[in-house]
Symmetry: C2
Subunit: 403 residues, 2 copies
């Protein structure tokens, strides 16, 4: 299947509008309230944090998605996470959703998302007047404005859109996201919102999103911390005019899955590259395990190792740390089969260290994209994970945040 | 049971000698070869890294300990880890053990340990002449000299000794260890050696060590990386003259277990406090889980969170990160029961944020020992973990190591 990258983010697919406005939740005065709106009711899907300390919005959305209720909007604020806020936090989440529904004059549900400091109540005094504002600001080219309003410590906005042909119709899928660590319970929760004009049944759409997430957002790591607010939401509104997909193993379903995977992976890589303090994107490819799950775990372990990450920051081709991370990943392998490559530099084969040009390898580690390849045997399992280096700036950003 | 802290480290118990000499393996020229010797054959016990990329010495020792062979010495070098070194590495480990045996003129086994850079062969040209040297240097007060020879990036030597009365006899137990991160596959593997003059059967001694390890070395974390070389070895030589312990649930066994726990915990805390770049010791106490294992996991998750660690370094009483770490630990609890305390500052009770004096709490985080208390319910499980803050110096040390 062929698709192409296009502009437009979440408003690239037909029938979507978006906006971002300033409610006053961020001390900086930057925009902090975003709305994504589908002109017709859409089929929702969602993947949520596995933490048992969860923000009110996570519980709220999960109920709506589980019931497969039609959804027509996603409201997201940055500034307060609305996590650890008890019953008041729950009531505020519900009120935000209902106010948005009223302003939009829709019967379908509104999903809500928050990111920011844990343990502080939403500033409802600021949000109540801002919700009508953000509804009035909705535009068919409003994706970038929404993308800007959801970021926190992120240095750049993150967005992607693809266009492809499925069942004779042009189908578009777009996304915006935020996150500057894999998860930062305080400031930089990972939130990702996908819009799509394909027609797909709710159970199939949910399964597709779960699969796309497994090979993308679940494979990035900045600091190993999982947030109270993490969520990936996806809407499919059918406006492309294609016939409804109802079977996961149909050709149109597979084509849509490929596009969804690509959108999620592109966003995941943007998050890893913008990891707090990061100076490069680290991509780790593992092959030769018994199955995909094992390869993914090992790739994540390597990409998440503080020692590997600091070696990359130091431009130090210190491959022993990669070997050690493989060994402790929990995936068993025969160490005499271990093959490790940093870029084009083979540093170990058959478990034996190889001579290599350290100077050139160190130079390679200055690249914008640093790739590590690991093979641990003859199995067919492969997996990729993305992360970033660990720099002084990661410590600075996270040590000096609230004080 | 009452015991007291005494001086003397691994040579405090009766019948032990130790030494450290310069073989020339460390570029700095500091001492780098240590020997611990029991004047009579001793019962060994050991706990080893769970990594499947393992140094030759790990495999070598594990075989001897599993067979419960009598052991009379532990030889340890710093400089090369002898990991990822294939068959040549294995042969070198065996040769080191055999040379030491010959020089000591003993029939009992010699255990070997290495720490340093992965993937480089032991400098046997330097070790062969140094082994007779270290045997000649053995002294009954040589513990500190041995402790100095095993350290790498450690800023201080680590040692402890206790004296207590068991079954009417004075029993002593001592230890030295090294490690400046929980594990640093490259430079700072965790090694700990315990000596004891109690009389105890091999299976009981092994079980005791496994238990002591679970509540001490397994509960410290500096960076979450597990080494290829980690090991905890313990010898019991019976020289105290006490009757042999053969039952785990006997009173003398329980007394010895308490002393062994205390020795291991003291060493573990010394390692966490000396974590690379650390400016304080972080102690996390969790209570109210269903069992001890759950409490320990949660305590480790909190102590190991990069976000919690950087907040402590920044003296930022950012308790939301602690709540988030609890939530993602994999231990289920009801978040409306969550209680969090930083020192004496109660920041959350019944899942609700509490007002507290941020200024004073920030001041408290400048302490040498920072304690966090978490209660998640009414269960009887409790657990403690130790770690340290994440500072600029951690990044500097690990980014700039080999280049």
């Amino acid at each position: 299947m062929v698709w192409q990258m296009i502009d437009g983010g979440v408003t690239a697919p037909l029938g979507y509008q978006a906006a971002g406005v300033t409610a006053g939740l961020k001390p900086s005065g930057a925009t902090d309230l975003a709305l994504i709106y589908s002109e017709v009711p859409a089929v929702p899907a969602g993947v949520f944090t596995t933490s048992c300390v969860r923000a009110a919005c996570v519980d709220y959305n999960q109920r709506i998605v589980a019931r497969q209720e039609p959804v027509q909007a996603i409201l997201c604020n940055a500034g307060q996470a609305n996590a650890c806020t008890g019953l008041e936090g729950w009531r505020n989440a519900v009120e935000c959703a209902e106010l948005t529904q009223q302003e939009l004059q829709i019967a379908s549900a509104v999903l809500v998302a928050s990111t920011g400091v844990i343990g502080r109540q939403l500033r409802m005094d600021l949000l109540r007047p801002a919700i009508p504002q953000v509804v009035r600001a909705l535009r068919r080219d409003g994706s970038e404005s929404a993308a800007r309003a959801i970021i926190t410590t992120d240095l750049v906005t993150k967005s992607v859109a693809l266009s492809g042909e499925i069942a004779g119709k042009n189908v578009k899928i777009g996304g915006i996201c935020k996150g500057s660590g894999m998860i930062h319970p305080n400031m930089a929760t990972m939130l990702a919102f996908v819009t799509c004009d394909a027609a797909v049944s709710a159970p199939v759409w949910q399964e597709m999103l779960t699969r796309a997430n497994a090979g993308s957002f679940n494979q990035i790591t900045v600091d190993g911390d999982t947030s109270t607010n993490d969520m990936l939401l996806a809407l499919a509104n059918g406006q492309s005019g294609m016939p409804m997909i109802t079977e996961l193993d149909s050709a149109p379903a597979q084509q849509l899955q490929e596009m969804l995977n690509a959108v999620c992976q592109a966003m995941a890589k943007q998050i890893a590259r913008d990891g707090e303090g990061a100076t490069c994107l680290l991509e780790v490819n593992v092959a030769g395990t018994a199955d995909v799950a094992s390869a993914r775990v090992m790739a994540r372990t390597i990409a998440g190792s503080a020692l590997v990450k600091s070696a990359v920051f130091g431009r130090d081709p210190n491959w022993g740390r990669i070997a050690a991370a493989c060994g402790r990943s929990g995936v068993y392998f025969d160490q005499t089969k271990l093959h490790i490559q940093i870029g084009e530099f083979v540093v170990m084969t058959e478990g034996t260290p190889q001579p290599f040009d350290r100077q050139s390898a160190s130079q390679y580690l200055k690249s914008e994209l640093v790739q590590v390849f690991v093979r641990v045997g003859e199995g067919s399992g492969t997996g990729t994970a993305w992360g970033c280096d660990l720099s002084y700036d990661y410590v600075r950003i996270n040590a000096e945040y609230t004080t």
